[in-house]
Symmetry: C2
């Protein structure tokens, strides 16, 4: 199970209702952030999300609306006596920018910040899951990320029973890939074990429409997409290399995802004048299972 | 008249109720900030404070809780097409730190940011008022600031009548320092004009108890003081070079100010367990006209 909490859902400029971009995810006891706009630490506090236990932060690109909250979050972690290292991942130049950001003013940090620069083709192996960066098309080097729970092995108990294995600890050996001998029979893992697809979440960061998202979001449980504009601003979206909500929906459809969440919403779209609804409706016409993210929207994916 | 709005009243770590330090002041049509902690732009929006019209930002010292909001505010000003220059003032190394902060990532700014490094003895002349920096004692170079409305000249109309001057435009000449001749009499400015003390607001930034605040806050209408701790944490306050609320009150009393506002309140003090009340009561025992700042507290001083 993975829990997703949207902490900031605006685009470049915050509004009274939408803070700057950040998405919190929790898988088992591991907490991570995707982007960390200004004010993220306080959004985490508002939802009691144990920000001290965040160990990984993925920055999609180095525009300030996606990273300006890092400085305050890291400082607060230090004031709260964190000692565990914090891992920050992002596109090219991330090492330089993190170093620059965390060394402004007079700030003694009590823990290590490890920065890893990623590009398409890399995989961040986190044990039971992996984070896969992929290239998107924005005005500057930018990445999307796939959270990919690894395939899980489980015994088909009917098949196991045929070999008299029922609850035998030998199933553990099979899961480790071993071939075993039981009651005179040789049993291989594939005789009994089945693989189950893990949870897959794709996040685009900021990007214009690109087929590369279709490729990386293929069959995802959830696609979280840039949706800065509604369809009538397609030209503007192209100029600024952002997506419209219906472009996000086209990608969701092509990629065959289960659910689409629109985020990075320009401040021009508001609840009060129904423009937010239009943005959502544009997408729903193309891909029905679409929702519009709001700050503090919480989802669980199983 | 000056309007003061407290945008952030916590110390180093924000809470659900208190954002990071920032104070907005408006004098006539001029808007300024004293410190600019993370999230300041959104606090300004919450109160509809026309952040685009802020022309001066005074940073008391370069700890991130006092400056991390600069990056987002400047970026938003740029995205909103600001063209007027923005003046940032602060202690030594301010130029280096502002340049470092505003050049992280990929950010094209559409307006000029002018940085002025200040020290005690300097005066920022803003026409009808001046900002006077003074040294305080913190762990790093740190300043307090005095907002000082200049003395205003007005005619004593009784005295003017004796010279037959009533509503004469010659009073304007007197205000310009000229000696005039009227109905055969020579009249000097001091025959008719009286000076009135302007509004004076003193803000300490972060500091331990120091007599220098007494000197600079002398007879202020309002003293806004570091009050990180209550009296039972005096030793800790000393170690971290912050003030207790009763130390702030002692300074208010010695300086003969009219009103004391306590801010920069450690997160350990909360409404729910009455500890905030204790912090305030400590101060009130020494200086009665004391209030505790809260986020969005608004004051006008005439």
């Amino acid at each position: 199970m993975i829990k997703i909490v949207f902490l900031g859902t605006t685009s470049g400029v915050p509004t009274k209702k939408r803070n700057l971009p950040a998405i919190f995810m929790m898988y088992k006891d591991e907490r991570m952030l995707f982007d960390c706009g200004e004010g993220t630490q306080r959004q985490l506090m508002e939802k009691n999300l144990k920000f001290m236990k965040i160990d990984r932060i993925f920055i999609s690109h180095w525009h300030a609306d996606h990273f300006a909250g890092l400085l305050g979050l890291v400082q607060t972690m230090s004031l709260e006596n964190r000692s565990e290292p914090l891992c920050i991942y992002g596109p090219t130049r991330s090492k330089e920018f993190v170093e620059q950001l965390l060394n402004i003013g007079y700030f003694e940090r009590g823990f290590e910040v490890k920065v890893t620069e990623l590009d398409e083709g890399d995989v961040v192996d986190c044990g039971e899951y992996e984070i896969i960066p992929f290239r998107v098309e924005h005005r500057i080097p930018a990445l999307g990320f796939v959270f990919n729970e690894k395939e899980k092995l489980s015994a088909n108990m009917k098949k196991a029973a045929k070999f008299g294995l029922a609850t035998s600890p030998l199933i553990g050996d099979l899961k480790e890939g071993k071939t075993i001998k039981h009651k005179g029979k040789i049993i291989t893992p594939k005789d009994i074990l089945e693989t189950h697809k893990g949870i897959k979440i794709a996040y685009t960061g900021d990007t214009k429409y690109t087929e590369n998202i279709v490729k990386f979001a293929k069959n995802a449980d959830v696609l979280i997409s840039d949706s800065t504009f509604s369809s009538d601003f397609e030209e503007r979206a192209g100029d600024f290399k952002h997506s419209t909500s219906d472009q996000a929906a086209q990608i969701a459809k092509k990629a065959g995802v289960k659910k689409l969440v629109l985020t990075h919403i320009s401040r021009r779209y508001q609840e009060k004048n129904n423009s937010e609804k239009k943005l959502l409706d544009d997408a729903k016409k193309v891909f029905k299972n679409t929702i519009l993210a709001k700050d503090f929207l919480e989802m669980t994916v199983k």
